[in-house]
């Protein structure tokens, strides 16, 4: 009985594996095909002769290096800044006493239901007033503080024993010192997770950079890719190469750090 069940389970799991991985593998494969090869019947799974032409074209003609740089720059900046600000706030909500703390925190949680699209229109007008449309800052600023990040850090910081903070106070550390030399190292697991979350979120973000950036020298990869699609919709293989390059960095990052990423999701969901 168990053997039959086991067989069925494995069959289903491998089916899932095929369904999940095939599109991605095909994308990689198609990116190495010669022009027009992906649009044939029956569809080809592997290139007849692998070529790097499309990758070369992306970097030489289509400026992909620049977009990758922009994506990396913005995602890194958003990650660092938001990590800093969110961890400060999350720690304070968990461990410091001040009037209205719990009420403010509840209000923040309630605000999670508001779809971000509501804010986009006025935000655009505000940034325009501040002269920040079409600048890196325009992409960066709205991502600098994030309620979910604060929540995640707070949940984790709750587990830091108060006595540790008190000990540091008695040992003569200032409040900022306690945060910097004690809380941050102690929160390292959640910080790594949140950093991954934020980085991937920023890397994959599409709608806001699409709205706020007009100058193509500042485009992020997804925006550039959508742009490229408008122009090269017929060049399947080129688009696949662009997609591969857009996906590759986050995928690598995930595979390397998948453990803490997955744990982070569990943490964010269970400690509700």
């Amino acid at each position: 009985m168990d053997r039959v069940v086991r067989l069925v389970i494995y069959a289903l799991l491998f089916l899932g594996l095929v369904v999940t991985a095939t599109p991605l593998l095909w994308m990689v494969s198609a990116s190495f095909m010669g022009s027009g090869e992906a649009s044939t019947y029956p569809p080809r799974l592997l290139p007849s002769a692998a070529t790097l032409d499309h990758y070369v074209a992306l970097f030489s003609r289509l400026n992909l290096g620049r977009y990758a740089f922009n994506s990396a720059l913005l995602a890194t900046a958003i990650t660092l800044v938001s990590l800093f600000l969110n961890s400060m706030a999350g720690y304070a909500f968990a461990k410091l006493r001040f009037t209205g703390r719990d009420r403010i925190f509840k209000a923040l949680l309630a605000a999670l239901v508001i779809p971000v699209q509501v804010t986009m229109l006025p935000l655009f007008l505000m940034l325009k007033q501040m002269g920040l449309v079409n600048t890196y800052w325009g992409v960066l600023i709205p991502g600098m503080a994030n309620i979910f990040g604060i929540f995640l850090i707070r949940q984790y910081a709750l587990s830091i024993p108060d006595s540790l903070l008190d000990a540091a106070r008695i040992d003569g550390a200032s409040e900022f010192r306690i945060y910097w030399s004690l809380v941050l190292p102690l929160c390292k697991p959640i910080l790594v997770t949140l950093a991954l979350f934020t980085f991937m979120g920023a890397w994959n973000d599409f709608m806001w950079p699409l709205i706020v950036l007009t100058d193509d020298s500042m485009y992020t990869l997804p925006v550039a890719l959508a742009n490229l699609l408008g122009e090269h919709v017929l060049d399947t293989e080129l688009m696949m190469a662009g997609s591969v390059l857009t996906i590759l960095p986050v995928t690598m990052l995930f595979i390397v750090l998948q453990r803490s990423y997955v744990e982070g999701i569990m943490m964010g969901s269970l400690k509700d």
Binding site: G36, S39, W180, L229, L234
Partner: protein, 433 residues
């Protein structure tokens, strides 16, 4: 341990974030937005321009046509307009109304190289609003028919027809000869240009009362619309939309369809993408409606029916700090010689007539169709809302092609939608009177 690293990364980031816009002092940099293929090709011309004007640097940004209108408006809304930009000439009224475009008056008047007969009249007219010049035509564009001459021949036709009825007949014959899996003509289902051209050929005005209201219940519009829909209904065109056609050129070459209606850039594309098959395809002006009621177009095929006065103009952002330099570049790009070069690079047709004659385009068979067509052009209504109205026409066209709406419903809703879009225009007009 890790802190110094983080700190130095932060610092480096700050420098990057602040310092990326650094400019070299004594050079003037002008931003130039160009769309699609033009954006790629114009770079070469711009390099020569920079060589001629060492104090000017031009940053060309290439924007896909599909996003161009949106991007320009976003840039306007966000105060991020380039100094100089290409502009579909049906969009010009919109940007003029917004005060985003600089007047060309003195420059054009004082220029010895530009007079009333330099450009095609129909196209030049789209750059003038209330008597003021706001843009200079860069290249012209109109829609006409590309067809597979071999397939037509196989169906028994040596020349392309000049009237709607004859056109219809050709399509029917072609369809008979290619069988059920292939089609006579390919028409993108959500397209607004072809129904609009057909309607303008019928003499429909599209909008009424100084463009305050939609006028799509006009029987002339209706007639054009019916003709257009008939092509789908009778199986002459595939009604499944563009997604069936992954690659227009490949499918055209495969004989999936025998005709399509498009603009001049496809001459270049077809040459480029279908090497060695030049003898298989040709171009022809839009057929004209039958009978004398038609507006503009000639009677029964003697002259082409009207088509859209399309094309792209070059305009200068009113808030630009480098208008003079931008004008220099425009002047350079609309010079006879550069127009010719641009044609060779992109296949786009020069806006200057003398460039046509100098390069013999008016004689070459494929472009000759355009030369003829360009004499027969009509502008779309010069109002800011046009682009949106045009897309709405496209949407309702699609709805009828797909049979989700009857023609009556579609046209009524179209009128209703357009009236709503024009509400602000009516208010503004009433207010300013």
């Amino acid at each position: 341990m890790i802190q110094p690293t983080i700190r130095s990364i932060c610092f480096a980031l700050l420098i990057l974030l602040c310092g990326c816009d650094g400019e070299i002092k004594d050079k003037v940099t002008i931003d130039f937005w160009a769309f699609g293929r033009e954006g790629e090709a114009v770079q070469e011309l711009v390099r020569d321009f920079e060589a001629e004007h060492p104090h000017i640097r031009v940053r060309v940004q290439q924007i896909p046509w599909s996003a161009a209108h949106e991007k320009l408006l976003t840039a306007y809304a966000g105060d991020a307009m380039p100094d100089l930009f290409q502009l579909g000439n049906t969009w010009l009224p919109e940007f003029v109304a917004l005060g985003a475009v600089a007047e060309f008056g003195p420059w054009v008047r004082d220029d010895p190289d530009i007079d009333d007969d330099t450009f095609f009249a129909g196209v030049a007219a789209t750059n003038v609003i209330d008597g003021v010049v706001y843009g200079l035509p860069w290249y012209v564009d109109t829609r006409l028919v590309f067809y597979r001459s071999d397939m037509l021949e196989k169906a028994g036709f040596k020349t392309f027809p000049g009237t709607w009825s004859a056109w219809r007949e050709v399509m029917e014959r072609v369809k008979e000869s290619v069988g059920p899996d292939k089609y006579a003509i390919f028409l993108p289902v959500e397209d607004w240009t072809i129904p609009t051209i057909l309607a303008m050929q019928q003499g429909a005005s599209l909008l009424a009362d100084e463009d305050r209201y939609g006028a799509f219940d006009d029987p002339r519009f209706r007639e054009a619309f019916d003709f257009y829909l008939g092509l789908f209904r009778d199986g002459l065109a595939p009604s499944s939309g563009g997604s069936q056609v992954a690659n227009l050129y490949q499918e055209f070459s495969n004989g999936y369809f025998a005709m399509f209606v498009s603009g001049p850039w496809n001459i270049g594309e077809l040459k480029h993408r279908l090497p060695g098959k030049e003898h298989l395809w040709a171009t022809a002006p839009m057929p004209a409606p039958d009978g004398a009621a038609a507006k503009g177009g000639g009677v029964d095929g003697a002259t082409p029916g009207v088509s859209l006065a399309g094309g792209a103009s070059l305009a200068i952002h009113d808030g630009s700090e480098h208008k003079d330099e931008a004008w220099l570049l425009i002047r350079y790009l609309s010079g006879t010689e550069q127009q010719e070069r641009f044609h060779h690079l992109t296949g786009n047709l020069p806006a200057r007539k003398d460039s046509w004659i100098a390069s013999g385009l008016d004689k070459e068979p494929r472009t000759r169709a355009f030369w003829r067509q360009l004499q027969q052009m009509a502008p779309t209504p010069p109002i800011p809302e046009w682009e949106r109205i045009a897309r709405t026409i496209g949407r309702y066209t699609e709805a009828t092609v797909r049979n989700t709406m009857t023609v009556d419903e579609a046209l009524a809703s179209l009128d209703e939608d357009v009236d709503r879009m024009l509400e602000k225009r009516r208010w503004l007009l009433a207010r300013d009177q």
